[in-house]
């Protein structure tokens, strides 16, 4: 809207900031008890568009707060580098539709190695482009990790994730809470 001088009477907000706010206010009863004994490990993607390109490190902190609350601080492993310095996964910029699949996979191997280095079983990808790319990277390179949206983990943690809302969970979590 800035680029084209579009006048507007509304503000832009990110659901990530709201998740953090609602948890802090006690409105969203998320906790990590469900993962206390399972100890499944999670890492998180910093979507370029969300962090580096718009809201910056503050939203990356909100994101980590939410994730740690949901999975347990000890079960969260940050990839390196991270926050504004994180690498693009290669899902954005139209890449997924560009037809340059080989290049996209090569590009994405940087992200793949970051994720594998964490040893996490799950990568939370709070961006559609990231989710598609990171999921595709795991399939293409047979990496074995699972890619989930943050909403999935939040509902899982709260015990309200429906049977048909588990498409991206691995077998280790598929039955949790059912």
């Amino acid at each position: 809207m800035q680029k084209f001088n579009v006048e507007h009477n509304f503000e832009i907000e990110s659901i990530i900031r709201l998740y953090a706010k609602w948890i802090r206010e006690g409105k969203l009863p998320v906790n990590s008890d469900w993962n206390k004994d399972l100890k499944v490990k999670f890492t998180v993607q910093d979507p370029c568009q969300l962090v580096r390109k718009s809201l910056g490190d503050p939203v990356a902190e909100d994101l980590r707060f939410v994730v740690k609350t949901a999975v347990g601080e000890e079960n969260f492993i940050d990839m390196q580098p991270n926050r504004s310095n994180n690498f693009c996964c290669g899902g954005g910029g139209g890449y997924l539709q560009s037809g340059y699949t080989e290049a996209r996979h090569h590009y994405g191997s940087v992200k793949l190695n970051q994720i594998l280095s964490t040893g996490a079983q799950y990568c939370i990808a709070p961006c559609h482009n990231c989710h598609s790319q990171i999921h595709d990277l795991s399939e293409h390179f047979e990496a074995g990790y699972y890619t989930v949206h943050l909403w999935t983990i939040l509902c899982l943690a709260m015990g309200c994730l429906g049977e048909n809302e588990r498409a991206y969970l691995g077998p280790d979590l598929a039955e949790v809470g059912l």
Binding site: Q97, A103, C160, A167
Partner: protein, 242 residues
């Protein structure tokens, strides 16, 4: 280029150089120190034998056509890590964007072009071509199923076109078209916190392939349709989801 070939510097007057000056008056190509911080942190380095530093240097040395016609400009995702790291803040992503524009529209990657054109077809702005009616139907269908089949969720709401709602929620086309049940967890979260939200049938598609295509007219049009949709419903926030 062969090892002993002399690099012929072209005439510095070129349409592309003017475009860069116009869009980026402060981003003087000569500011580049050739430090390589950009290239060393770029996942696209090496693709098509190109990297951000080389791209800038080719432009600085007048090799405009060679630089802009490289498919590398579609293999860069415009993630901004290069400018973030650059000590001189050379705006490489914007230059890549300008380079994308030098490609005749119909020669740009088919998938991106197709998605942009799909989105332009209706005020829904969906790159997968899902209409306003399609979207509303899917949302209402899914929420009804949840109410009927999930105990405790008999009152789940997924409002569409609710005037005056606080949040206008955007929605990527992927879920309603290919995996509608994935929309439900977020609805549940919004329900639990008592958020006052709505979808709009106009401007609901969250993606913007016209932006990736660098078709500025189309990009602006999509942006305006979406902004108007939020304003017409009188929502306070345009809420970006994951």
């Amino acid at each position: 280029m062969e090892e002993n070939e002399v690099l012929e510097l072209r005439d510095q007057k070129h349409e592309f150089r003017d475009k860069i000056k116009e869009l980026l008056p402060d981003s003087n190509l000569e500011l580049c120190l050739t430090c390589g911080t950009c290239a060393s942190g770029c996942p696209a380095t090496g693709l098509e034998g190109m990297d951000p530093r080389k791209f800038v240097r080719m432009l600085a040395l007048g090799l405009y056509d060679e630089a802009t016609s490289s498919p590398w400009v579609w293999m860069c995702s415009m993630c901004q890590r290069c400018i973030h790291a650059c000590p001189m803040k050379v705006d490489i992503p914007q230059m890549v964007g300008l380079a994308r524009q030098t490609w005749p529209r119909e020669e740009r990657p088919k998938g991106i072009l197709g998605s942009c054109d799909m989105a332009l077809r209706s005020d829904a702005c969906s790159a997968m071509g899902a209409s306003e009616e399609d979207f509303q139907f899917v949302v209402e269908d899914v929420v009804e199923e949840v109410r009927e089949t999930q105990p405790g969720w008999e009152n789940l709401q997924a409002p569409v076109n609710k005037e005056g709602a606080e949040y206008f929620l955007n929605q990527n086309s992927r879920e309603p078209v290919t995996e509608p049940d994935e929309m439900v967890p977020l609805w549940k979260i919004l329900h639990i916190v008592g958020a006052d939200w709505t979808y709009g049938t106009k401007g609901w598609g969250a993606e913007n392939y016209c932006m990736f295509l660098q078709d500025w007219e189309a990009w602006e049009h999509i942006t305006r349709v979406k902004a108007k949709a939020v304003e017409d419903l009188g929502c306070k926030y345009w809420l970006n989801t994951e």
